[in-house]
Symmetry: C2
Subunit: 309 residues, 2 copies
């Protein structure tokens, strides 16, 4: 199949592609977990051009803990920690793909992992009312010593930061150029490094961008054909966690809005994925799917997941 | 000037491009320091195709200290820390170039920062006798609690790791393809993430690759025309630190070998740079220069630095 006729897939890998619930998250566990999605993606790369994005929640939380434990060196701002996780996870995904391709006997595929930053608006309402919990949980007493705002969550006191809307992916021209040439591109890790544009400069800001919304924007900006959000459940599920729970196989914007209104989807988990998928389909008329990490390949041919129409 | 006639420059930035001697290394200091080399590089990008590599010594040392201060999360192996610094420093260099290009009114240059790994031999003699000190210095008592080998240095006890020879840059095809299309490419940070190839897989190893030797290899593998090593002194200097000290303006392989034999160049500082420059010139017949970070532009037209012939 010639490059030009290969449709473009964007696969957004959830944090659980690397660290599963309940795992400590050693590097061996992370590489082992990655094998499941990456083998499928390597296989898909024969018939599709591939863009991969990924979360970074547990990894950036760990780096924050390490920073806070050490008084000897200057602390780095949050956007630099996001950049560190792009390096870390980008390397892990890239080398896992290399390994899968070698196992398949393919040695001519081009493959890059890119640093990516994403512009946000300095007047985004998120900056006035930071509401996104990140990093580890602290006791009330520990939290009183922290230098930043916290909120009470079921796990304890957690740092909150702004989660502004992504406006544009700074590297979109480069990514599009690479996709055209059939490079597999890993990018936009952790939702991208958040920056604001001030005059002729970009400056990093203390925020995290939702990974699925950033991925939806990237998918739109670089003309992706199918946008796949891979997570730890089978798709968008009604009555989740009850005996009545039911996977939705096809979802329209209207039904999605209604279910969100009913509070069917977890606010910090499934809801932003549904919103990202709806937004992409609405703006582009193309396909989006939310699926389990183990069913990425099946979801492309509509045998798994929730399809957005 | 058309892309094809633009010669290719590889500029290897020393760690002091980001953190100067005696500085604590806050993020503001690092961005401020970067302006000096980056403005010159942005200007050079009008007439040259550009590849940038960089060191990571102080940054990876800081992350090691943070890791060691924190018992709550799993420690990551050294190659993952190198990957983190590629993310961190790659982002900083990329956004500094973006800023310089915007100041110059240039908005169509393509620019990427790539994760890069570099193959080493698992039988490299470096693995039997780790001799490269990295990270912070400890007291004798502190050192006795560490989990890894140390050596005594003038600063105190420091961790030692292997520093194996770089054999090949895994992403060389991708980097060459990007250079051809006049992308500015930031890559090979910290000498690259060291990996060994075992059967059909790459595995990271506990080592650091000399940044200048890795840059020389990259320069050879992607057909660079001029290889510039930018550091904190004016070039290779005879009788360094004495009243007789003298910048060498041109250096042949034979003289370089002789001076190394005499111990003219610092073993962990200038000597590997001289060796890297000699190696590149010897293997390719092209030009290499060692120069000060503030004189990068001047060195391209032979008005500064030590030229290798």
């Amino acid at each position: 199949m010639s490059n030009k006729s290969k449709p473009v897939l964007l696969i957004a890998l959830g944090g659980n592609a690397l660290i599963k619930k309940g795992q400590e998250g050693t590097i061996q566990q992370q590489f082992e977990n990655l094998r499941v999605p990456i083998r499928q993606i390597a296989e898909l790369s024969e018939e599709f051009r591939i863009v991969i994005t990924h979360g970074n929640g547990p990894q950036v939380g760990n780096i924050m803990l390490q920073q806070e434990s050490c008084k000897k060196v200057p602390k780095l701002p949050l956007e630099i920690l996001v950049a560190q996780t792009q390096g870390q996870i980008g390397y892990m995904i890239e080398s896992a793909i290399d390994e899968a391709l070698m196992e398949m006997g393919i040695n001519d595929r081009l493959l890059v992992s890119l640093i990516t930053y994403v512009v946000v608006d300095k007047n985004d309402p998120g900056f006035k009312n930071p509401a996104k919990p990140i990093g580890p949980a602290f006791s009330r007493q520990e939290a009183s010593f922290l230098e930043y705002p916290t909120m009470v969550t079921p796990k304890g006191y957690r740092r909150v930061v702004a989660s502004p809307e992504p406006l544009t992916i700074v590297e979109k021209r480069e990514i599009q150029s690479l996709i055209k040439r059939d490079f597999i591109v890993i990018c936009c890790g952790g939702g991208g490094i958040p920056v604001i544009r001030e005059g002729r400069a970009f400056s990093g800001v203390d925020a995290v961008i939702d990974k699925d919304l950033a991925s939806a924007l990237l998918a739109e900006e670089v003309a992706v054909d199918i946008f796949i959000i891979a997570t730890d459940v089978a798709g968008a599920i009604l009555n989740f966690g009850t005996s009545d729970q039911k996977l939705i196989r096809q979802l329209t914007k209207e039904s999605a809005d209604q279910y969100i209104h009913e509070g069917q989807f977890g606010v910090g988990s499934m809801q932003p994925k549904v919103e990202a998928a709806v937004r992409f389909v609405n703006r582009t008329g193309k396909r989006a799917v939310i699926t389990s990490i183990k069913d990425i390949k099946e979801s492309v041919v509509l045998r798994a997941g929730t399809e957005f129409i």
